[in-house]
């Protein structure tokens, strides 16, 4: 599915959080979104997910047969998975119960859930399933894992993850990179990932958008990993 952003504007008081004239994220693309704190990454994700109201403009999800304005219908929720922060988690459930809940309301049968969990076995590292702990009692890293997995559970055509590498240990960061890449290859899903970790972003995203004060100031082609130098230059990492 494509995501088409047109004339999208959102301000909080005087502060402009998002101001994008036109931007298209193509079907099957992994787009990395980078920018300093307050650049508007999370706000853009929330606008795409219809969780906040845009002051102006629209977000459409399109393919050959459909053109859907996310603010006008809920249809897109059937093929969109997202994890932005822990307000996506129902923290008085155990991870097992939460996955069962998501699976069942998404029409997945228990066998599909079992197969899904099997794929993530390494990522979960025996710390999530069967632990008899509520999500609220998990570590920040494990909560993050539950959120990411729940977003992927319905096998979405559009996957949106805000700072997925946060709180994860190095091996889990590496694991999620592989899982996302593999998922994209297998399903041709459109994936949007925001991160402050330039290395991870460059590793998995063939295209990277650089956001500053709500505006996409650069749309960087990273098919050959060439964005690294440009991003390091922008963030003045080696100065």
């Amino acid at each position: 599915m494509n995501i088409i952003i047109q004339n999208l504007k959102k301000s909080f008081g005087e502060k402009v959080a998002v101001n994008i004239d036109s931007f298209k994220i193509n079907s099957g693309e992994i787009l990395g979104l980078v920018g300093n704190n307050g650049a508007g990454k999370s706000t853009l994700f929330r606008l795409i997910l219809d969780l906040i109201k845009a002051d102006e403009g629209t977000v459409h999800m399109t393919d050959n047969t459909r053109d859907i304005n996310v603010a006008e219908t809920e249809e897109w929720k059937d093929w969109t998975g997202a994890y932005v922060d822990d307000s996506f988690l129902i923290d008085y459930l155990t991870p097992d119960e939460y996955f069962q809940f998501i699976a069942r309301i998404s029409g997945k049968d228990p066998k599909e859930l079992e197969q899904f969990l099997e794929k993530f076995k390494h990522f979960m590292a025996d710390e999530i399933i069967g632990q008899k702990k509520f999500i609220r009692n998990l570590s920040a890293g494990n909560k993050q894992k539950v959120g990411i997995m729940a977003a992927m559970l319905l096998q979405p055509q559009i996957l949106i993850l805000d700072e997925p590498f946060n709180f994860l240990d190095p091996s889990s960061q590496s694991a999620i990179k592989h899982l996302l890449k593999k998922y994209n290859e297998e399903t041709n899903a459109t994936i949007l990932v925001s991160s402050h970790n330039l290395q991870h972003t460059v590793d998995i995203c063939p295209r990277i958008a650089l956001l500053e004060h709500g505006v996409i100031i650069r749309d960087i082609d990273n098919k050959e990993g060439q964005a690294q130098a440009e991003l390091e230059d922008y963030f003045e990492i080696n100065d």
Binding site: K77, V84, D85, L89, I90, Y92, R104, I105
Partner: protein
């Protein structure tokens, strides 16, 4: 920074906390309404004070009006105690943000305990007591007696406030502590209501009379009680703050019932499971439920064992109250607990509609409890079966649709595991509560007047059945209106999530 400067800073933070609460920060109308409601309640108290002073004058064989009120003063303190749950925070919670800063914990505790002692809230009953005292004491007995009597009341309110703080702090540790005030207050009320003559009448009257006469021993005795309660609170609050910092929650989940019998209902079944788990695994909803059952039992027992509530209006009121109480406490804040994970819900298609349906079925199912509690009353003939049937169906089919409207307007996240009711209901919630409490009785009385008994109850039952049969339609309508307001509501839920 010296202690006085620090005290001023802490006081400033407290003021800012109220001023900058997300609910009022950008909402002048809400501020106006809150002030209006505050004045409204004050006016009610003034009215009560004046009418009691005039009404009680000579009503009891020439006994002075203030003696009549004084004889029942524990009732006022009991009401004051329970009202504090929605009005007053504990020093533990107030001190928590500062516990890791280089400020002595004991200093923090003293500041918040002293502030709670001198809180204006302890003077609120003055709206009733001052006009009452002016008419019943100052005019016939002089200003000095009036001042002493009022001063005594104020001291009793301070002591009551410290009792409340003590219990509420214990409640944060374990809900079972609720038994303590329930038993004490139950015993006090029983001692006043069950015997032919109020057993506490004499000592209560004597105590307040001694205040009116500025009896130094009585005043010192109350001061001593306040000092003991202050010190007990100081020790407890200190300990609890320490526990909060070093808290290691028992994270082992005991209740993992799969509730697979709900699987047959598909998506709806999942939301039903969610509702059951929300109610059983979080302190606040659990406490609401326990308190609801407690109130039901209390009033039903009072009715069963005494003639205190044998009047037609009170009978109807208690029966109705027993049916609507659980729904009223939870549905008036419908969606407020879900505010904690609203983004997750909103990213699933029609999840709110399914959730509302689940809430409706769950709350309707809970209505098997009131008839069980009131069964002895029905068997003993103190309450009619028609009344129960009428209110049961009226609650499900008329009251619930009214309460569910709050799903469209609620936008303040309620914490799932904080205290009892960490947040005060909004004005619209308070107004709706009053409407819900008195609307059905009015309809029933009108219907009974026009149609005769039991036709009034049958009318309520029929109205309720219509509501039950059409529940999918009105729930869908609420869901659609919620979706129209979704941005406003989500913004409110987010803003108040951690406030």
């Amino acid at each position: 920074m010296n202690k006085y400067q620090l005290y001023k800073l802490l006081r400033k933070h407290e003021d800012l906390k109220v001023k900058r609460h997300p609910m009022f920060d950008k909402n002048r109308f809400m501020k106006f309404l809150m002030i209006f409601m505050w004045l409204y309640y004050a006016a009610i108290l003034i009215f009560m004070g004046v009418t009691m002073a005039i009404g009680m004058k000579g009503a009891y064989n020439g006994v002075a009006a203030f003696h009549v009120l004084d004889g029942w003063f524990p009732i006022v303190l009991i009401i004051d105690f329970w009202i504090r749950f929605v009005m007053q925070d504990t020093p533990v919670n107030q001190a928590k943000p500062y516990t890791l800063l280089p400020i002595r914990r004991s200093f923090l505790m003293h500041v918040y305990l002293i502030r709670s002692g001198f809180s204006l809230g302890n003077l609120y009953w003055g709206f009733m007591l001052v006009p009452f005292g002016l008419i019943a004491i100052a005019v016939p007995f002089g200003w000095i007696k009036f001042a002493g009597w009022l001063f005594g009341w104020w001291l009793l309110c301070i002591a009551n406030g410290f009792c409340y703080l003590f219990v509420r702090t214990l409640l944060a540790k374990h809900m079972a502590w609720l038994v303590l005030p329930v038993l004490v207050h139950g015993a006090v009320i029983a001692a006043m209501v069950l015997p032919e003559h109020n057993w506490l009448d004499m000592p209560c009257t004597a105590l307040l009379n001694s205040f009116a006469n500025w009896n130094i021993l009585s005043i010192l005795a109350v001061f001593a009680v306040i000092a003991v309660l202050y010190y007990a609170n100081f020790l407890l609050q200190n300990l609890m703050v320490y526990n909060e910092i070093s808290k290691k929650e028992n994270v082992e989940v005991k209740n993992t019932a799969k509730m697979s019998y709900l699987n047959r209902y598909g998506q709806l079944g999942e939301y039903l499971k969610l509702e059951v788990r929300m109610k059983t695994r979080n302190k606040t909803p659990k406490m609401q439920f326990v308190m609801g059952i407690g109130f039901m039992l209390f009033f039903s027992l009072m009715m069963y064992f005494t003639d205190a509530y044998s009047g037609g209006f009170m009978k109807s009121f208690i029966c109705l109250y027993n049916y609507i109480f659980l729904g009223l406490t939870t549905l008036i804040g419908v969606m407020c607990h879900e505010g904690n994970y609203i983004d997750g819900l909103m990213s699933r298609r029609e999840s709110i509609y399914q959730l509302l349906r689940a809430k409706f079925y769950f709350n309707s199912f809970l209505l098997i409890i009131p008839p069980l509690i009131m069964l002895p009353l029905m068997i003993s003939g103190k309450m009619s079966v028609w009344m129960n049937l009428g209110y049961l169906f009226f609650t499900v089919g008329v009251i619930y649709p009214i309460l569910f409207q709050m799903a469209v307007y609620n936008k303040d996240t309620f914490p799932l595991n904080q205290k009892i009711t960490g947040k005060q209901g909004s004005t619209i919630q308070q107004i709706l509560s009053l409407v819900i409490l008195f609307l059905p009785i009015g309809i029933e009385k009108l219907a009974t007047l026009l149609l005769g008994d039991p036709w009034g109850f049958i009318l309520l039952m029929c109205l309720g059945i219509v509501g039950v049969l059409t529940h999918k339609i009105w729930l869908k309508n609420i869901y659609q209106r919620f979706m129209v307001r979704r941005y406003t509501n989500m913004e409110g839920f987010r803003a108040s999530r951690n406030s």
